[in-house]
């Protein structure tokens, strides 16, 4: 998670400094959020024209307010517009993990690792992204194993009940068969 936070900060700085119009919009978004008005921050973000930049702002707000489901959805929308954005890819995974959704996180990790693989080499930043992806992969695997175990347990429960019910019903029917006998 430390690697994740460094990645988040570093990527945000890169993104903000790269695009001046986004920089101004994001400053407005950030100011509104820091003033304690996430609603105004979100309104400001939705008015950003560029799809990728809008997505980054919305994800930043939604994740900050712990609306993880919206953060995942907005990140995926943004990735559709800017498929090479490592920050959006990372946030999609982080939000899915916060929801304890291993399968959604695994899906996001495939995208994240594809983005990292295509990224321009910058040794320190890439190393951070890879470390983050590795952390997330381990966590997603744990959650997916749990989800699979839950599915297996559910199937096992249903079949156990069905088998026992059938066996008991047959036994009951066999007991009822045959005439009355007195010793």
């Amino acid at each position: 998670m430390r690697a994740s936070r460094r990645c988040v900060d570093a990527a945000l700085v890169c993104v903000v400094s790269a695009t001046s119009s986004f920089a101004q919009s994001f400053v407005d978004v950030q100011a509104a959020a820091e003033a304690g008005d996430f609603s105004r921050a979100r309104d400001t973000a939705t008015r950003i024209v560029d799809l990728g930049e809008r997505a980054r702002s919305l994800v930043w707000i939604d994740y900050g307010a712990r609306d993880y489901a919206s953060a995942v959805a907005e990140a995926r929308t943004g990735l559709a517009a800017t498929p090479s954005d490592p920050w959006l890819a990372e946030r999609a995974v982080a939000a899915a993990l916060a929801l304890r959704d291993g399968r959604a996180a695994t899906r996001g990790l495939d995208d994240f690792e594809r983005v990292i693989a295509r990224a321009t080499p910058d040794t320190a930043e890439l190393a951070d992204w890879r470390a983050t992806a590795s952390d997330y992969r381990a966590r997603a695997r744990e959650l997916t194993v749990l989800e699979d175990a839950a599915d297996v347990a559910l199937n096992r429960s249903r079949w156990t009940v069905i088998v026992l019910l059938v066996a008991a019903s047959v036994s009951g029917w066999l007991c009822l068969r045959g005439g009355e006998q007195r010793p």
């Binding site: 307010a65 712990r66 899906r107 749990l146 839950a150 559910l154 429960s157 007991c175 009822l176 010793p183």
Partner: protein
């Protein structure tokens, strides 16, 4: 001779009846550490036991046509004794087969219905089937030893069995489980069944009788030396104490791995949920803990002098510590707490620094609605945080009649704060409760989703409106503004209720169980759209 035989068979019927009720009543508590003790689990347990008993009656009727029904009876009772004695030791394996470890509460809930049904069937079908077999065999043995009308004999057997069951019904929850624990309870039930087998084996020869009894005693005694595996704690957590109360299994766990020591009070299956939280310091706990929202009314109101508080569902006293630790300087807390489970209060005193004095009064062992009906107010704030069986809001604490009672206990401008386990402000459970409170208070209701939690807190006021996140007056000063209040201005984290459209929940018609199931289904559906 006939009278002696009848007495022994009558006693056997009574002992078997008592054991049946002990097994059935303790059954839910046996699987509660894994599946909880909700209505779904209760209905599964009762259903399986009734089905197995019915099957046993049919089997007993078939065996009764044999040459020696007394031998079959003795065998059935001995088998029931063996199966009964081993139930606590088999329960862990059986339950874990249908509920993996490590699941969060909302993830485990979809397994509760089928999982508890399967575990109950595997665990209790053999015992209940053997117990059901006993009744027709008792009647047949009685008929052969002392001929009479079928109705008269059947009535006497049923009467003796039911009287024994009556004793089991009262002794189990009031004494056996809370005082002796589950393993001893099942061992006592097994012993009663062995005694019943002895009473019933009057016409068997020495060797078969001795063999059956010995097998049953050896099996039952052997069970006393086997350790029962309990649900484990999460990594880094240590269990401090575990108790069986008349209502639930309760335990206190402590996390010593973090920067701050933290204790949680958990009930039944626990999972990742908690009923109370303790930190060494009073005041706000931090992100993800809904108790912090209970401190908001005092922060908004800026009282002087005294803040009169009533907490319904006090648990181990977390609400007291959070609210008292955040009151403005110079303001004293004058609090009344109500907690139905006296064991929880006792653990609160021992592990959660629950103080009882003139300013902190605790009513323990009494239902919240009973206390409210005595009109103990007026209060500046009433907190409703009452849950039964981990996940269920008690139906009688969620109706318009109850909220009208709460309204009347509040001082003018007083606050109601209600904790609701839910996934968001559009949750059907949140909507139903908010609209019910709206009708009772004849005013607006604010729902606030607590970030990073599975909780929504509802706010209402007597003769006033709660503040809105999109309006002036939302801020309360630090330490609230920069964290909790800021995040709850996000549109997904709050909802305003005004002008209720649905009929409120009332004492006559309250589908709270269905609403809670719909709430969980909605949570799962949301997650599935992300995959």
């Amino acid at each position: 001779m006939n009278r002696f035989v009848r007495a022994r068979l009558g006693l056997a019927a009574a002992l078997a009846g008592a054991s049946t009720m002990i097994v059935e009543l303790a059954a839910v508590r046996l699987i509660a550490p894994y599946f909880g003790a909700s209505m779904v689990v209760w209905s599964n347990v009762i259903g399986v036991v009734l089905f197995a008993l019915a099957l046993g009656y049919l089997l007993g009727a078939r065996l009764a046509r044999g040459e020696r029904p007394a031998r079959s009876l003795t065998g059935a009772l001995a088998f029931a004794a063996l199966a009964c004695a081993w139930l606590p030791f088999l329960s862990t394996s059986a339950c874990r087969a249908f509920l993996p470890e490590g699941l969060a509460l909302h993830e485990a809930f979809r397994l509760v219905s089928w999982g508890s049904l399967a575990a109950t069937a595997v665990l209790f079908l053999p015992t209940a089937l053997a117990l059901g077999t006993a009744s027709p065999l008792l009647a047949e043995a009685w008929q052969r030893a002392s001929p009479g009308s079928a109705g008269a004999i059947g009535g006497r057997v049923l009467g003796a069995s039911t009287l024994g069951g009556l004793v089991g019904v009262f002794v189990t929850p009031h004494f056996l489980v809370p005082e002796l624990g589950l393993r001893t309870t099942y061992w006592i039930a097994a012993t009663l069944l062995v005694l019943a087998a002895v009473c019933a084996s009057f016409e068997m020869g020495f060797e078969p009788r001795f063999g059956v009894r010995s097998l049953a005693w050896v099996g039952a005694v052997a069970s006393a030396f086997v350790t029962v595996a309990e649900p484990t704690t999460s990594v880094g957590w240590v269990e401090l104490e575990r108790r069986e109360s008349p209502y639930q299994r309760v335990r206190v766990v402590e996390d010593r791995s973090g920067a701050e020591r933290m204790r949680l009070l958990q009930v039944n299956e626990g999972l990742d949920s908690f009923q109370s939280v303790w930190l060494a310091r009073k005041g706000l706990i931090g992100e993800g803990y809904y108790y912090d929202a209970f401190a908001l009314p005092a922060a908004w109101s800026k009282p002087t002098g005294t803040w009169r508080l009533c907490v319904l569902g006090l648990g181990a006293g977390t609400a007291f510590r959070v609210i008292e630790g955040t009151l403005p300087t110079g303001v004293q807390l004058d609090a009344l707490g109500v907690e139905i489970d006296p064991v929880v209060t006792e653990l609160g005193r021992r592990w959660f620094e629950l103080v009882e004095d003139a300013q902190h009064r605790v009513v323990s062992g009494v239902d919240a609605r009973t206390v409210v009906r005595t009109n103990p107010g007026p209060f500046d704030q009433v907190v409703l945080d009452a849950y039964a069986n981990q996940v269920e809001i008690p139906a009688h604490l969620s109706t318009v009649e109850f909220f009208e009672l709460l309204h009347d206990t509040l001082a003018p401008g007083g606050w109601l704060s209600v904790n609701v386990g839910a996934f968001g402000c559009d949750d059907p459970l949140v909507i139903a409760l908010a609209e019910t409170i709206e009708v009772a208070f004849e005013g607006s209701v604010l729902a606030v989703r607590i970030p990073a939690s599975r909780n929504v807190v509802l706010f209402a006021r007597r003769d006033a409106r709660p503040p809105r996140p999109d309006a002036p007056g939302w801020r309360a000063g630090e330490p609230f503004d920069s964290d909790l209040l800021a995040k709850t201005t996000h549109p997904a984290n709050w909802r305003w209720f005004e002008g209720a459209k649905r009929a409120p929940l009332d004492d006559d018609s309250n589908p709270i169980d269905r609403l809670q199931l719909e709430s969980l289904e909605l949570g799962r559906a949301r997650l599935s759209t992300l995959r």
